[in-house]
Symmetry: C2
Subunit: 233 residues, 2 copies
DNA sequence: GCAAAAGTGTTTGGTCTACACCCATGA
DNA sequence: TCATGGGTGTAGACCAAACACTTTTGC
C-alpha cells in the first residue's frame, strides 16, 4: 500500500515557519554500454523537462517506506540498492518554497526494470550527454554529485555488485569500472587486482554468448562492504 | 543578528503533515591530549544530560546562517570548519515528534573558544569516555558516526589543518593523527609520508617551548582538499 | 581460416615497513 | 651532566604499471 496523500494542511503556506522536506533519488544504471540516469519526464507549456524522482516526505513514515513509495510512484521500480548522498537546502533551490532535499542515489540492473517502467513518464538519459538546461532546479548538480560519489565508492567497495547481474564475465566487471570512471584498464592488471581483493568467486558456468566462452564469476558477498583500506602510515 | 524565534504556528501540531527539520552539530576538538566533543548540558528532573548542539531550522534562512546561529546560541563559538555528515530521520529518534536531523560535524582549535564559552551550559567530553546513557536520543550514534568520518577524512585530506594552530611542530601533526585514529606511527615514516604529499611548508621559525627547538610547519593550503588518490588500477 | 573476445606472466620501479642512534637545549 | 623531545637513513618486502601473444569458439 502506498502512503496516502494528505492535503489537510497547506504546506506551502507562509504561515508555516519551517522548511519542507523532500526526498530525491538519482537512479543510475548501465544501458547500451553507458552510464545512464533514470529521470521523470515533465511537460510544462509544451516544453519537456526532466526531473530526478522525488516527493515531499510523509510524516511518521520511516525512510524505507518513503523511499520505496517515491520510487514506485515515479518509476515503477521496486527494489534497488540505495545510499544517502547529501542534503541540499539552499532556500532558493525550488521556486515553490523552501524545500530541503535529502538526496539518495540508487543503482539498478537495467534488465530489472525495462519491462516494468512506463516510458511515457520516465526516460533514460546518458550521463555523458545530459543537457543541464533541461533539468529542474539544481538536479544537474545533484546528479553530478552522485556520479562523483559512485566513482569514489567503486574504488574501495564492492558496489559494482549492485549494478551487475548475479553472474558476470570478468570483462563485464571491467566495463563497469571503465564506464563509470571513464578510464581504460589493462585486462591483466585488472584481474590481478580484483582477485587479490578476494571478493570474487568463480562459478563453473560459462557464458557462451560470445565466440570464445568466458568464465562467469559472482561476488562472495553481495551486500556492500569496504574492500580496500589504505592506512595513512 | 540572530534569527528571531518564531512561534506563530505550532510546529508540533498533529495537523502538520510533514516532518520537522533540525540541524545538529558534533563539534570536535583536541583538548588535554585527547579527542573531545563539545556538548550542551541539560538538567532535567535533576538528572544531567548531554546533547549535541542543535536547533529547529528556520525557513528561508540558508545553511550558513542557520549553522552559525545555532553554534553561537548554544556554544558561543563563532567560526569553525564544518562538513555535512548525514541526515538522520527515524520517526522515533526524538520523542517530541518526527524530527529529521541534518547533522554536521565541526572542528575547532581549543584555544579559539576556551575563553568565550559559558561552561555552565557547555561541557567538553573525552570521546573515549563518553557515557552513551547520558546523551539525548540518538546523539551517541551521531557522534560515533562523525568520529568515523573524521578518521576517514584524515587519511585522504588535509583536514588536520582545521584542528591545528596556523604553525605547528611535526610532532603535533603526528599527535593529531595518533589521537584521532588511536594508532601509533613511526616518526620517520610519518614525516616521509607527509612530505611526499607536498602539502606542508617549512616556516623558518622555531618552537622553543620544549628542550630542543623544533621546526614549525604550516599547510600550503588551509582549505580542505583531497591529498591522496589511490586509483583502483 | 578468420574474426572476435578470452585468457595468461614477467620485469621494473616505486612505495611501505621496520628499525636505532645522535642532537640541541633547559634545568 | 642529564633528561627531554627533535632530528635523521637504509635495507627488504610488497605492490603497481607496462607490456603482447596464444586460445577457443562461431561464422
Amino acid at each position: 500500500m502506498l502512503i496516502p496523500e494528505n492535503k489537510q494542511f497547506d504546506i506551502w503556506s507562509d504561515e508555516l515557519t519551517i522548511p519542507i522536506l523532500a526526498l530525491d533519488i538519482v537512479i543510475f544504471t548501465i544501458y547500451m554500454g553507458e552510464l545512464c540516469v533514470i529521470v521523470s519526464k515533465v511537460e510544462e507549456n509544451s516544453i519537456s523537462w526532466y526531473s530526478i524522482p522525488g516527493w515531499i516526505v510523509a510524516k511518521w513514515f520511516d525512510l524505507e517506506k518513503n523511499f520505496d513509495d517515491i520510487l514506485k510512484r515515479k518509476t515503477w521500480i521496486e527494489w534497488v540498492y540505495k545510499e544517502q548522498l547529501y542534503t541540499f537546502w539552499d532556500p532558493k533551490r525550488d521556486p515553490r518554497g523552501h524545500v530541503v532535499a535529502v538526496c539518495y542515489y540508487a543503482l539498478v540492473q537495467v534488465d530489472s526494470f525495462l519491462t516494468k517502467v512506463d516510458f511515457t513518464k520516465v526516460d533514460i538519459l546518458k550521463y555523458s550527454q545530459i543537457d543541464k538546461t533541461k533539468l529542474f532546479y539544481d538536479h544537474a548538480k545533484i546528479i553530478h554529485y552522485a556520479k562523483q560519489r559512485l566513482e569514489w565508492k567503486l574504488e574501495y567497495t564492492n558496489i559494482a555488485a549492485q549494478i551487475l547481474p548475479e553472474k558476470f564475465k570478468m570483462s563485464q566487471l571491467q566495463w563497469v569500472y571503465e564506464i563509470i570512471t571513464g578510464k581504460k584498464y589493462d585486462k591483466r592488471n585488472f584481474q590481478k587486482k580484483v582477485f587479490s581483493l578476494g571478493i570474487l568467486q568463480e562459478t563453473w558456468e560459462l557464458d557462451k554468448s560470445t565466440n570464445r566462452p568466458a568464465k562467469l564469476y559472482q561476488f562472495l558477498e553481495k551486500d556492500i562492504q569496504i574492500v580496500e583500506k589504505n592506512s595513512f602510515v
